[in-house]
Symmetry: C2
Subunit: 769 residues, 2 copies
C-alpha cells in the first residue's frame, strides 16, 4: 500500500464533497466524513450515518397513478448522529478549524490501516496554541463499532478544556427538490423511543412506518485519572451528551466508543448494543486499529492492483476498491447501494450497478462477498416473482429496478421497472460466479432457481413470429431511450439467460445425476420440457442487426430517429436529463450511457468483430456519458478494439471520478458502480480478461502513457497474477496448473508464463488512432 | 321537443349517478343534481357546484421528477354550496324522501324549458301528508343566477313548517386515490374570507394559491305575507342560514335566488353579486323560466336532430346535446371540460375532446359558440408556445394535453404532453370553422396565427430523411400505446395542418391582397418562404403504410407487437388501464380507442378506400373501446364503409352512455366528448356529412332498425335540413342555392332535392354483415 487520501486545507465549498470522500464504513455501518465539532458556521453539509438496508417505508405520490405502480418505497435512514465530539476552551471558545485560526491542517484517509485522522494546531483568541488530532474508524472486525479518538496536546494553551460528546436522535434525511437523483421529500423518518444517560449515553429510535428500531449507545473514556476532572451527563428532547471538564497539562486523549444495532439483525437492539459496548470498550483504540490493519492486509493481498508509476491512477484505483469494500453488504439483508454507505443519493437503493459493475470486482477477488451479493438476490426472489405478476406476466421473476428489501421502489417506470434487463444482469452474475468458481453446489442450492425464474420471464415477455423471438416494450440500460421493442442489450442478455437456464440443468445432471436433479426440478416446479424450451427460444432470440451499417441497432426504432444536435448543445446543458424534457431526449439518437457497446462487452460472441467495431464507432459519437456507468464500458470495449488512446481517455475518467468530483454530485455520495468500473477497466479492459464456458483468456494491451500494470485474481481455486510491462505479459499461478488463452493462442501454465505484449491486442484494425 | 328525463323512484345506489344526470348549468355555472335537503342518511354523494374555469393552483408531486415536468396544475373548484333548502315539520322531523315515507316521487329534467322539478308526497310520522315540489334552474339569460323554488302544499298536514336556506362555504373537492381518472388529493382549496347575514346571506371565499375569489349571495322569498311567519338568520364558521317558520295552511312557495360571481369575470365579486341579486329578485321564478324557455326555443331550432320513432335514441341525443349546451363555456376564460360542469372527473380540465368531438356539433349548429371555443385556444397561444420551448422546440405551439388556463396540467407525459396531435386537432378545428363559415376575417385576425404556430411545431419536431418527413417520439390518440415514431394519426393531422398553414396564406392574399397580408405576416414574424416550406413538408409527410396488409400501421412499431390475448381477458378486467400495468398494455397490439380509424374519419382523402376498410377490419378487433371517445368514431367509419349493423351497434353505445351509466363512472360527471360523438354519429356517420375545401357532401345510410332521421345544420350562411327516410333523402335549403354532392354525384339545389336512399351508401363492399 502506497497511498493515502490527503486533504491539506479546508475549502468551505469542498467540505460537503469531502464528506463523501472521507466516508468510513464496513458494509454494515457507514459514517460520512463530517467534522466532529461541525462547521460551526453555516457551510453546506450532509451530516449522515447509515446502516445498510435499515430503512423506512414512505408513500410514493404520483401526479397521475396507473395500475401496478408501487404505493410505497423504502428509503435509507440517516440514523442517530454520534459524530459529535466538541472541544471547548476557556471563555466558551469552541475549537473549530473552519472558523478559527489554525495551522498545519491535515486530514488523511489511511487505506492500509482503515481509519481517518484529522489534525491541526489551533490558536485561540489569546493566540495560545494546542494541537488537536481526531482519529475515527468503523471496525471491520466488530461491524457495530464506530470509534473516535481525540488527542489534545498543549503547545501554549494550558487552560481549562471541556470535551462534549453527543448522541443526537433528532435526525433528518437530506432532500433536494430540484435534483431527480436525490430524494425530494420525507426528511423526518425516525422518532425517539427512549434516551438514557446512565452508565452510557443511549438513544433508541424507531422508524415511522417500517417498524424498525435502531439503538446507539456510546461512552467516552479519557486518559486522565478520575480525580483530575469532572463529568456531567445531560439530556434534552433531541440529544444526550456527556461533558468532561479538565485542565490541560499534557497530551490528553479521549476515546468515544459507539455501538449501533438495529432490529433487522439484532433481536434486542438496545440490550444488545449495551452488551456490545461493554465488550468493545475493554479494548483500546489501538487494539481496534490493529484488528483493522489485519483485516485489510488480507483484503489488499487478495485485491491487488497496480498501474505502475502512475500515482494518480493508483491512488484512484485503491480509493475506489477501498470504498467498495467499505460499502458492500456482508449479510443477507444487504447489498451495495448506488452510493454505498457514503451518502443519500438514490435513497440507499440497490440497482443493477451491483451485478454489472461491482460484482465483477468481488467475484475475482473476494468470492465470499460476491456470493453474499447473489444470496441477497436469491433471498428476494419471491418479491421479483410478485413484480412479474403485477407487471402482467403469468410467471417468471422481474427484479426491481431500485429497491432495498426486494420490492420495486421505482416511481417512474419508463426508466425503472421497464428496465427488464436487470433480471438478465442478475442471471449473468450467477453464471459468472459459477464460471469463476465452479461452485456447482451453490447453483444446485440457489443459482438454478434464479436462472429458471428469470428465464421464465423472457418466455412470458416475448413472442414468436416466424422463426424469431421478440421482446417488446422494455427499456435498455441507456435511459435516454425508453420503452422500445427489441433493445439489443436486453435481447442478448435474455438469450444468454435462456441458454444457461438450460445449460445449468445439464451441468447439474453431470454432477448430481438424474435423481437428485429431478428432485430439484420437482421442488422448483419446473419440467425438463420447459427447460429444453429455454434453449430453443435462446437459439431463435432476435438480435437486431442492420446489414447496411453492419451494426446492431440499439432497438427497432433507434436508427430512424433524428441524431441529437451535439454542436448546438452547450457544455452547461449536460447532463441532458437535467436540461431537456424526456420527450426531447427520447426522440433523438443520443445515449446517456453505452448500451449496445455494453452488450458487446458482456456477450461479445453474439456479434462479429466488425459489427462490434462499427457499433463502437457509431454509438460513441452519440453517447454523452451523462451516466457514471458509461465511461468504463467504453474504455473496456475500446481496449478490445485496440483503440488504445480512447481506452486510456475513458479509463482516466473513471479512475478519479469522485476524487476529482467530475460529475459534480460527489456530495451526495460516491459512485460505486464507476468505482467497480475502474477496476474492471484494467482487468477486463486493458488486460482483456474473459471467463467463459470454454475457459479463461486474456488479450492485454498497454497504454502508451504507462510503464505497465499488475493485478491478481482468483479463478477456480487458484490465484493468478498478471503482470504486464511495456514488452511482456507475465502470468504466475498459485494452485493447479491452468489452460488459458492469450491473444487467441492457447497455453498450459504450470507456474509461470511470459508472452510478448502486442501493442493493440488481437486487433490491429485501426492501428494508432 | 318530446322528451324529458324522468326518475320515478329513489334508488340509493343510483343517487350519485343521477346527480350527474340531473345536473343543471349554463356554461358558466353548473350545479349537480343533489337534493336540497341532502340524503339525511349516509348515501354516496358528490355534492358540487362549479364555475367554469374558476380554479385553484396545486402542486404536482412526482415520484421521480424530470426536467420540464410542470410543477403545478389548475384544478376546478367545488364552490360554495347554495343547494341547501331544508323543510322541517313539527317535532324536528326533516322532510327527506330518502329516509322518510313518500309516495308519488318524480324527478324530471325538462329540456324544453330548462329546469328540473322534483316532487313527492311526504307522510310524516303521524301519517299526515303534504306535497313538496322543488324546481331548480341555472339561467341562460343571467349566467350568475341559480334559482330554486319549493312549493309546500298541505294534504293532511297543517302544522308548523320550518324552511331553512343555507350557504355553506366549508366545501371540499372530491377525491379518490384508487382511480386515476379522479383527483387523488388537494380536497380543501377554498378559504372563507367573509360571511354576512344582513339583507341577504353572503359568503366570500378565496382560493389558496390562485388568488381568485368567489362570491355567493342568496335570499329566500316566500308567498306568505310578512305577518304570517318569522325569519331568523344565523351564521357559524362554516355556513350562513336563514330560517323561516310558519304554519302551513295552504300551498306556500319559497324562491331562493342565488348569485355566483368570481374574480375572473367580475371586478368586485362581492359587490357585483349583491347588485345582481337585487336585480334578479325583482323578477319572479316564472319570469326566469320564461326567459329560459325563450333561449332554449332558439337553441332547439338551430340544433334540431331526430331519429324517427326511436324514443330511447331521441331521448339520448337530446339529453346529450342539452348537456353540452349546459356545460360549454360562453366567454373568453372558458372552454368545455371533459365532464363539463357536471362533476369533478379529470379535475375540470379541457382536452382535445373539445376540438374533435364537441366543436363539430357547435360549428354546424351554433357557430358563435364554436368561435368562442376557438378564441379560448387563441387566447392561450402564448402558453402553448412556452410549452413547445419547455419540451425542447425552438419554435411552434404545443397545446397542453389538459389545462384550464392554458398551461400544461398533465403529470404523466407519456399519455399527456406526448400527445402532440392536440396541436393538430386545434388547427383542424380552425380550418373546419373556416370551411363551414368562410369567415375569412376570423382567420385573418386569429386563425392564421394559430395555423402558423402549430405548423412550426411540426417543422421543428420532425426530420427529413431521403424524401420523407418523419415525426418521432409522440403518443397518438390511442393511449394504450405511448411514445412512438410516426403515429399515423399524428402524421396525417400534421400534414393537413401544414397544408392549411400555406393554403390560408393563399386565401388571405385572395381576400386582402398582398399588402394587408404582408402586414399580417410581419406582425406574426413569419416569412413567405417559411409558409411555402410548410407546403413542401406537408407534401412529403411520411404516412406509415403496410403494403402486405394494405393498412396504415398505427405507428412504426405497432405491427411488430404481440396481439393482446382477448380470449384470456375476463370481462371484469376491462377497462384494461384499471387492471394492467401500462407496460403490459404498451407492448401489445391493443387499442383503448380508435386511432388510425379516427384519422380516416377526419382525413379520409389521405388513404385509399381499400386501406380504410382494411384498417377498420384490422383495428376494430384490437379495440377495447375503454375510452368513451371510441365508439362514436368506429360507428362513423362503419357508416362510411357501409357496415350498417356495426355502425348501429356502436352508435347505440354512444347515444345513452351516461343515461345508462355504461362506463360505470357517470357519477364523476357526464362524458361530454361522447355526447358530441352521438350527434356526430348521425350527422357525420349515418348521413355521411363532409365539409372539405371542395365543398359539402353527404353519403347517407339508414339503419334497418330505424324509420329515418332528420337534422339541420348551418353552412355558409344557409340552413340545410336533411331528412332521411327508408326510401329517400330530402334536402331543403334556407338561404342561397347550393352545390353539393350526394353519393359522389353533384347536385345544385335551389330549395329542395329528393334523392333515392342507397342501402349501404357509396360502398357495397361487404353488403349485409
Amino acid at each position: 500500500m502506497k497511498h493515502d487520501i490527503i486533504e491539506n486545507e479546508i475549502l468551505k465549498d469542498k467540505l460537503i464533497i469531502n464528506e463523501s470522500i472521507f466516508s468510513i464504513g464496513n458494509g454494515y455501518l457507514g459514517v460520512r466524513g463530517n467534522f466532529e465539532e461541525g462547521y460551526v458556521e453555516d457551510c453546506p453539509t450532509i451530516r449522515g450515518t447509515y446502516i445498510n438496508a435499515l430503512h423506512d417505508i414512505v408513500d410514493i405520490t404520483y401526479a397521475e397513478k396507473a395500475f401496478g405502480f408501487p404505493d410505497t418505497m423504502q428509503k435509507i435512514l440517516n440514523i442517530i448522529d454520534s459524530q459529535g465530539l466538541i472541544i471547548e476552551l476557556e471563555d466558551g471558545e469552541i475549537v473549530s478549524p473552519v472558523t478559527g485560526n489554525i495551522t498545519e491542517y491535515k486530514r488523511r484517509l489511511d487505506m492500509k490501516n482503515g481509519y481517518v485522522t484529522r489534525s491541526f494546531i489551533y490558536h485561540n483568541k489569546k493566540n495560545q496554541a494546542l494541537k488537536i488530532t481526531y482519529k475515527r474508524m468503523v471496525s471491520f472486525k466488530q461491524l457495530e463499532l464506530f470509534c473516535i479518538q481525540v488527542d489534545i496536546e498543549p503547545i501554549s494553551y494550558f487552560g481549562e478544556v471541556i470535551v462534549k460528546s453527543t448522541l443526537d436522535g433528532d435526525v433528518y434525511n437530506y432532500t433536494d427538490k430540484s435534483d431527480p437523483r436525490v430524494a425530494s421529500g420525507h426528511a423526518k423518518l425516525l422518532n425517539i423511543v427512549s434516551t438514557s444517560i446512565e452508565d452510557y449515553l443511549a438513544v433508541l429510535v424507531k422508524t415511522s412506518h417500517s417498524e424498525l428500531f435502531c439503538s446507539c449507545v456510546s461512552t467516552l473514556i479519557s486518559t486522565l485519572d478520575n480525580n483530575n476532572y469532572k463529568v456531567a451527563k445531560l439530556t434534552n428532547s433531541r440529544q444526550v451528551e456527556e461533558v468532561h471538564k479538565f485542565k490541560l497539562i499534557e497530551k490528553t486523549s479521549f476515546t468515544k466508543y459507539t455501538i449501533y444495532t438495529d432490529s433487522l439483525r439484532h433481536k434486542k437492539p438496545l440490550e444488545d448494543s449495551i452488551e456490545l459496548l461493554t465488550k468493545v470498550k475493554a479494548h483500546s483504540f489501538d487494539y481496534w486499529i490493529k484488528e483493522q490493519t489485519k483485516y485489510l492486509a488480507k483484503f489488499w493481498e487478495s485485491t491487488y492492483i497496480d498501474v505502475k508509476g502512475e500515482k494518480d491512477i493508483q491512488e484512484g484505483l485503491q480509493f475506489n476498491i477501498y470504498q467498495l469494500l467499505q460499502s458492500v453488504g456482508k449479510d443477507k439483508y444487504s447489498n451495495i447501494a448506488a452510493k454505498g454507505l457514503t451518502g443519500e443519493g438514490y435513497e440507499g437503493h440497490y440497482f443493477w450497478d451491483t451485478e454489472v459493475f461491482i460484482f465483477p470486482v468481488f467475484v475475482l477477488t473476494n468470492p465470499e462477498i460476491a456470493k453474499n451479493l447473489l444470496m441477497y438476490r436469491y433471498n428476494t426472489l419471491e418479491h421479483a416473482k410478485e413484480i412479474a405478476i403485477t407487471t402482467g406476466h403469468k410467471s417468471g421473476a422481474l427484479y426491481p429496478w431500485r429497491t432495498i428489501n426486494g420490492t420495486e421502489c421505482s416511481g417512474y417506470f419508463p426508466a425503472g421497472t421497464a428496465q427488464y434487463h436487470i433480471s438478465g444482469d442478475i442471471a449473468y452474475a450467477f453464471i459468472s460466479y459459477y464460471l469463476t468458481t465452479k461452485d456447482i453446489q451453490f447453483m444446485y442450492d440457489y443459482g438454478a432457481e434464479v436462472l429458471f425464474e428469470t428465464a421464465r420471464l423472457w418466455m412470458d415477455l416475448g413472442h414468436k413470429e416466424g422463426n424469431s423471438f421478440y421482446l417488446d416494450g422494455v427499456t435498455g440500460p441507456d435511459e435516454y431511450t425508453a420503452i422500445v421493442n427489441n433493445n439489443y442489450y436486453t435481447n442478448a442478455i435474455a438469450k444468454y439467460n435462456l441458454y444457461w437456464a438450460n445449460k445449468i440443468y445439464i451441468e447439474l445432471i453431470k454432477t448430481y445425476g438424474e435423481d437428485r436433479t429431478t428432485q430439484l426440478l420437482a421442488k422448483l416446479d419446473i419440467t425438463v420440457l420447459e427447460i429444453q424450451k429455454f434453449k430453443k427460444i435462446s437459439d431463435i432470440m432476435y438480435l437486431p442487426y442492420d446489414k447496411g451499417l453492419d451494426i446492431n441497432p440499439q432497438d427497432d426504432s433507434f436508427l430512424n430517429k433524428k441524431v441529437w444536435d451535439f454542436e448546438g448543445t452547450k457544455k452547461e446543458q449536460y447532463p441532458l436529463l437535467m436540461n431537456f424534457h424526456p420527450l426531447t431526449i427520447y426522440r433523438h439518437q443520443v445515449l446517456k450511457q453505452a448500451d449496445t457497446i455494453l452488450a458487446h462487452l458482456m456477450l461479445e460472441d453474439y456479434a462479429k468483430e466488425s459489427t462490434i467495431k462499427n457499433c463502437y464507432d457509431y454509438y460513441e459519437r452519440l453517447t454523452t456519458h451523462d451516466s457514471s456507468l458509461s465511461y468504463c464500458v467504453s474504455s473496456m470495449v475500446a481496449c478490445k478494439l485496440g483503440y488504445e488512446k480512447e481506452a486510456y481517455k475513458y479509463f482516466m475518467e473513471t479512475a478519479r471520478l469522485d476524487l476529482d468530483n467530475t460529475h459534480n454530485n460527489t456530495k451526495d455520495g460516491l459512485h460505486m458502480a464507476n468505482m467497480g468500473g475502474s477496476f474492471m477497466g484494467i482487468v477486463y479492459g486493458f488486460a482483456g480478461l474473459r471467463i467463459k464456458e470454454e475457459g479463461i483468456s486474456f488479450n492485454p494491451i498497454l497504454s502508451d502513457e504507462w510503464q505497465g500494470y499488475q493485478f491478481n485474481i482468483k479463478y477456480i481455486n487458484r490465484v493468478i497474477d498478471i503482470d504486464v510491462s511495456t514488452k511482456h505479459i507475465q502470468i504466475s499461478i498459485e494452485g493447479e496448473p491452468l489452460k488459458l488463452k492469450i491473444y487467441d493462442q492457447e497455453y498450459f501454465i504450470e507456474k509461470e508464463l511470459t508472452v510478448n505484449l502486442r501493442k493493440n491486442g488481437i486487433n490491429t484494425v485501426r492501428g494508432d488512432n
